[in-house]
């Protein structure tokens, strides 16, 4: 059973650089073209199901904008994104 995860992008920090989008192995991240942040950027957001909570997006995000959660079930496994 694939791990289930969630990411929350903090729009104070996100600048829509798409680095997380490119890095996401599940291709579930994209930019929210429907709105802009206070700084004028389209922020990143989950655009599909399938996030495993691997945390790679948070490893590459230059703005430390992403918080990554994983369903408790997966807690015992070492996070791939942990450093």
């Amino acid at each position: 059973m694939p791990l289930k995860g969630r990411v929350v992008v903090n729009e104070t920090y996100c600048k829509g650089c798409e680095v997380c989008v490119a890095a996401c192995p599940q291709k579930v991240l994209g930019l929210a073209y429907d709105h802009i942040t206070a700084k004028g950027y389209h922020p990143a957001t989950l655009i599909a199901d399938g996030c495993t909570g691997c945390g790679i997006c948070s490893v590459v995000c230059p703005e430390a904008a992403i918080t990554v959660y994983r369903e408790k079930s997966g807690e015992s496994r070492e996070s791939e994104g942990g450093r």
Binding site: K15, I36, K39, G40, Y41
Partner: protein
Amino acid sequence: MQTEIVVAGFGGQGVLFTGQLLAYAGMDEGREVTWIPSYGPEMRGGTANCTVVISNEEIGSPMVEHPTAVIVMNRPSLDKYESMVKPGGVLVINESMVDRPAERKDIKVISVKANEIAEKLGDKRMTNMVLLGALIANLPVLPLEAIEKALKGHLPERHHKLLPQNYQALREGEKYKVN
């Protein structure tokens, strides 16, 4: 006769180029002009603005407390500049990026959903031209043709294919003439 115009917005919105275009057009029309920019710490994003002065005689200060006209391309710029416009002056607002109406009653306010218009014309980057068209329509400083000539004369050769679109953006803006 001296006219001072401020263009303000995010970096990347074409703020500085819009001002330069006014300056070129003014110069080509034989007027005295100055263009002066100011920007924040950000290389990309952040705020940027410039002041253009167009005059019939040697220009003193290139900056003024109370410009004749202001184009604001985002909300922070509206907050900063609204109060500064000279009474009776012109304020052009990019409604697409500004979520409140202007408060001043003693100036001419023109609100244009410029992003939408530009996107409809096929290129978001022409937002500034729409707003410039709206300004020119409401400020008797230069004819629109002068802007078009300047655009042709000073847009880098490789962008000349975009000229018709830009002209159209200006014309779309021009429609926002307010009396």
